[in-house]
Amino acid sequence: MHTMQTNLTAKTAAAESDENFLVLENLTKGYQEGGKYHKVLHDFSIAFRRGEFVAVLGRSGSGKTTLLNLISGIDRADSGEIYVNGIRLTGLDDLQRTLYRRSNIGFIFQFFNLIPTLTVWENVTLPLELTGQFDDAGKARALSLLEEVGLRDRLTAFPDRISGGEQQRVSIARALVHNPQIVLADEPTGNLDEDTGRAVMALLDRLTRRAGKNLVLVTHSPEAAAYADRVFTLHDGHLVERER
């Protein structure tokens, strides 16, 4: 089907070391609001190691979600470069970025964003179908993930029949099932009560670490950020690492 090489597990000759798995270089991004240009991210550079769990704290409107959109290729930077495992993301066109995202990114949203017309099983296996991995191995992986998130017995339920915590657990399984290298979580506990939020974070931490994935978590919650290896604060368009 798609011949473009975007799978990050197959390193290119130009691939950097694990130290520089995800590199953001002189990144700048802003939006036009009415007649005024509002800069959200200011010319900052940073590198993440392979398998690292980083959390980004920041106030509403500080640019956290914009950062995730740039890493996932949903949005394009005004200037600067993004390299993922040596691939220059900023040089890809819309279709190439979509295919990159399909294989390499797992998304977890604040409002779960499950597809209402698909069952739990169909929601989880959708990324497998999109990436052509809907084979026995893929199905086994999906079942095992659903087992781990505790929803093995709810395979045929539709999203509106399960609780918010359960929906978020389904979305975690969906984010990991196709074995992406990077998982992006946008306020995953923002719509859950404290206990459920804690359980979801523990699950996310356990599953991504065990699979050796990079997890980029943006959140308001210092408690959720506490799970991360490194914590950054997004302030005035700059990413500042917090001392721990």
Partner: protein, 856 residues
């Protein structure tokens, strides 16, 4: 990445298809839109195919394999001409025929073709008669020797329970004549069976006796060598003056061509119903896409490509299109039963008598309807699918962003609309008299007006707001503002409704104008008080001879002030057969509405007595005739030119006719037959009394049709109403689709605003205020759609009347503006709009505010 990603992953298919099945009501409306459109198309196509095949079969039954025919004018051909040519060896393959349209009370009263043939020469012409199972030897002996012996097809006889040896009556020129069934024709092939369904076969001498045409032939069929173009000329040279040889195709081709225009007109009108249905689909599809913007955005986040989103929405349209088309085909077949007989009747009224009812449902009609329905759905769904594919990941473009984008596009869309209208008008101005081009122009103008809907809505709402604010307070300000703020939804809905309603306005105005024109025409052209004709299948222009004894009795009838005589017939011309009506009526010119005339009306009759003629506008336009020209006709002396002194409006036939003075006709064609009598009574005499007295007192064996002026006018109007019966049915269908369209568009719009309404409820909006708000919003949309439909419908009517009708029938109609048509438009739009408000208002009124504003 894996190289074997499926073209369209089943998971995505589920996303789309389940949406279709979950939103049952929304889907049902789309299915209904397609089904109705396809049904109308299939029904009309079945009727057209049936009419076309009936024409072919009727021609096949009569002409068989003949390539040419020798004809002899209105009174036929002297049989001695045939005998002499045979003896002289000039004719090789030739068969004499005596034919007449007859009916029989025992055979359902339908038109049947009495065909008198010479069995010894006929076999090469009508091979279906020569089947070895046709008739036994003893039957043939009776056929030749026993007077009044006829053969029928086995199918026809058994359908009416007739057995061999049974006697039944044939009504020929208003007289009942007994005949005996001596044999059954049983062709093995289905073509032969169908062809014979409308034929009564008799020996040629029997047919001459039955029709009273002793010594005359209707024509002589010939099979001429195609490689010898001079063969026809050699025969023509041997023929006496007044007899002509002509190719069969040339004789039947003109009629077929004329009915083709009529059929194209019907097909195109049926497509209008589909277009209305398509606007319904477009509206619903666009709505479903707009509703799911966040879902598509999220799918894009998961790595679903634009192409896949396009396919997803396209596959939804495919399901709906397939289901809708299948239902439409079934519905079309059912409706076809009505349309087939209506179209056949119209063709009988306006063009020619068909004796064969084509049976069966041609697969091609079903396929055509299905494929067109499906294609139309997919094409209509393409823009919304493209819109869905353009949704950025995570729907980064907010709803307010979308609305401001739409508002910015309003002016551009309006300019696009003006461009479309201009393009449509340019198509009309092209010097080509093409019906399809006319319909393409109509489509362009309609879409152009639809594209003006958004701008018109913004402007109209601005106008309405002060009034609604005054009447309804803050709700009166809120409702119009909300409509303009959600222009992405409301403008599409209003455009769809407007088109649907405008089509009904346009067609209504066309039918009203048609009736008005015919009424004026009848007023002018029917001047006698009582009319006498013989029964005829063509009621608009009866050409069956009236018993001469009746003419004499009518002339001497007490109280008759003046007697006008008419001979209606068909004569040959270099352009093929032409209808001619000859009058003995010195005031004929003042009873016609002239489009053009070369001399004053008062001077016309003397000129007509000298040989001048007047022609109808449809004939003049069809054959490119103009004042000052002459029109050539073949009379009993051969070809003669008749100067044209007037072109008049006439709505009796679509092919047109020539009118001349009866004395001149009788002199030129040696024909004293009379086909209609017009009796003028002194002022103040009650025509009904004389009509009744004539019905009782005329001494004749012929059944006559005696009608007062009012009676005849009613009969003629009935024929015209029948002509437009299908158009009226189409109008009802378009109105139904329009009504459903209004209802669905507004219903969906309100349901989508559930959350907004929930917030208002949470903020303290009372249940009563909620009702008012919803009704105000739907009411304003209905009003805007209804108001916009008026100018659009008017434009459509102008196009239908002055361009489409003129090209289809050749008739100029006078535009009659009836306020009812416009009021009806407003009524449909407003009623549907208010009805559409009831359900959402009830539903939302009951819903707890908390439930409505819940995020997930």
């Amino acid at each position: 990445m894996a190289a074997d990603t499926p073209f369209f992953p089943p998971g995505l298919r589920n996303v789309g298809w389940r949406y279709v099945f979950r939103r049952r009501w929304q889907t049902l409306l789309m299915v209904l839109g397609i089904a109705l459109g396809v049904a109308v198309m299939v029904a009309i196509d079945l009727a057209n195919a049936s009419a076309s095949r009936a024409f072919d079969l009727s021609t096949e039954a009569v002409a068989g394999r003949a390539t040419h025919q020798i004809t002899g004018g209105p009174q036929g051909l002297d049989e001695n001409v045939y005998i002499q040519l045979r003896r002289a060896g000039i004719l090789e393959l030739a068969a004499p025929v005596v034919a007449a349209y007859v009916s029989s009370p025992q055979l359902g009263g339908q038109p049947l073709q009495l065909l008198g043939i010479d069995a010894f020469t006929d076999a090469p012409f009508r091979p279906y008669l020569g089947s070895d199972r046709a008739a036994s030897y003893s039957q043939l002996v009776q056929f030749f020797t026993r007077p009044g012996s006829v053969l029928l097809s086995r199918g026809l006889a058994s359908r009416y329970g007739l057995q061999l040896g049974d006697t039944f009556d044939l009504e020929i020129s208003g007289r009942l004549q007994p005949v005996t069934l001596v044999g059954l024709l049983d062709p093995q092939d289905s073509l032969g069976q169908r062809t014979l369904e409308g034929v009564i076969l008799a020996d040629i001498s029997t047919a001459q006796e039955l029709t009273g045409a002793l010594g005359r032939l209707s024509w002589v069929d010939l099979i001429l060598d195609q490689d010898d173009p001079a063969a026809a000329e050699r025969i023509q040279a041997a023929l006496p003056a007044g007899a002509r040889v002509a190719a069969v195709e040339a004789r039947s081709g003109t009629l077929n061509q004329m009915t083709a225009a009529f059929r194209v007109n019907l097909s195109a009108l049926s497509m209008l119903a589909l277009v209305v249905g398509l606007f319904l689909i477009y509206n619903t599809m666009t709505f479903s896409v707009v509703q799911r913007r966040s879902l598509f955005g999220m799918l894009r986040c998961l790595g679903v490509t634009r192409r896949e989103i396009f396919l997803l929405v396209g596959s939804e349209a495919l399901i709906v299109g397939v289901i809708g088309s299948l239902i439409g085909i079934g519905l079309g077949v059912l409706m076809g039963r009505g349309t087939v007989s209506a179209v056949s009747q119209t063709i009988n009224d306006l063009y020619f008598t068909t004796t064969v009812k084509a049976q069966g449902i041609p697969f091609s009609s079903l396929l055509k309807g299905g494929v067109l329905g499906l294609l139309a759905t997919l094409v209509t769904a393409a823009p919304p699918a493209w819109e869905a594919a353009s949704v950025p990941p995570r729907a980064a473009l907010s709803r307010s962003g979308l609305e401001s984008k739409v508002r910015r596009g309003v002016i551009i869309t309006a300019f696009g609309g003006l461009g479309m209208i201009l393009g449509g008008v340019l198509l009309f101005l092209l010097p080509l008299d093409n019906l399809l081009l006319g319909f393409s122009g109509t489509f362009a103008v309609t879409v152009g007006f639809a594209m003006l809907a958004a701008l018109s809505m913004v402007l109209l709402v601005r106008l309405i707001t002060p009034l609604s604010a005054r009447l309804f307070g803050f709700l009166g300000r809120m409702a119009p503002r909300s409509l303009v703020n959600s222009l992405s939804r409301t403008s599409v809905a209003v455009a769809a409704l407007m088109v649907a309603v405008a089509v009904t306005v346009g067609v209504t105005l066309m039918i009203d104008s048609f009736r008005y024109t015919v009424n004026v025409w009848l007023e002018q052209s029917l001047s006698s008080d009582v009319y006498i004709t013989a029964p005829d299948f063509n009621q608009a222009q009866p050409s069956t001879p009236v018993d001469p004894a009746v003419v004499e009795q009518a002339r001497a009838w007490p109280g008759v002030e003046r007697l006008d005589l008419v001979r209606a017939t068909t004569v040959d011309s270099p352009s093929g057969p032409v209808k001619v009506t000859a009058f003995l009526n010195s005031t004929i010119a003042s009873e016609r509405l002239f489009r053009e005339q070369s001399i004053p009306t008062g001077e016309m009759w003397p000129r007509m007595l000298e040989g001048a003629v007047i022609v109808s506008e449809s004939l003049a336009d069809r054959l490119d005739l103009s004042l000052g020209n002459s029109f050539a006709l073949y009379n009993s002396q051969g070809r003669q030119d008749y100067p044209i002194i007037g072109i008049f409006y006439d709505y009796a036939t679509s092919e047109g006719l020539v009118q001349m003075a009866l004395p001149r006709y009788q002199q030129d064609w040696q024909d004293s037959t009379i086909t209609a009598l017009g009796l003028r009574l002194p002022t103040g005499t009650n025509p009904d009394g004389i009509t009744a007295a004539l019905q009782d007192g005329l001494q004749t064996t012929q059944r006559l049709v005696i009608r007062s002026n009012a009676g005849l006018r009613a009969d003629v109007l009935e024929v015209f109403d029948r002509t437009f019966a299908i158009t009226s049915a189409l109008r009802v269908l378009a109105t139904t689709v329009a009504f459903i369209g209004v209802l669905s568009a507004l219903l969906l719009l309100q349901l989508e605003k559930e959350k907004e309404i929930g917030i208002l409820r949470a903020l303290g909006l009372t249940g009563r205020q909620l009702w008012r708000l919803v009704m105000l919003e739907t009411g304003i949309m209905g009003l805007v759609a209804g108001l916009l439909a008026m100018p659009t419908g008017y434009a459509l009517a102008i196009i239908l009347i002055y361009i489409i009708n003129k090209r289809s029938f050749g008739w100029t109609l006078q535009l009659a503006l009836t306020p009812e048509a416009f009021l009806q438009a407003l009524l449909i739009a407003m009623t549907a709009a208010l009805l559409a408000g009831i359900y959402p208002a009830r539903k939302m009124g009951r819903m707890a505010a908390a439930a409505a504003i819940r995020e997930e």
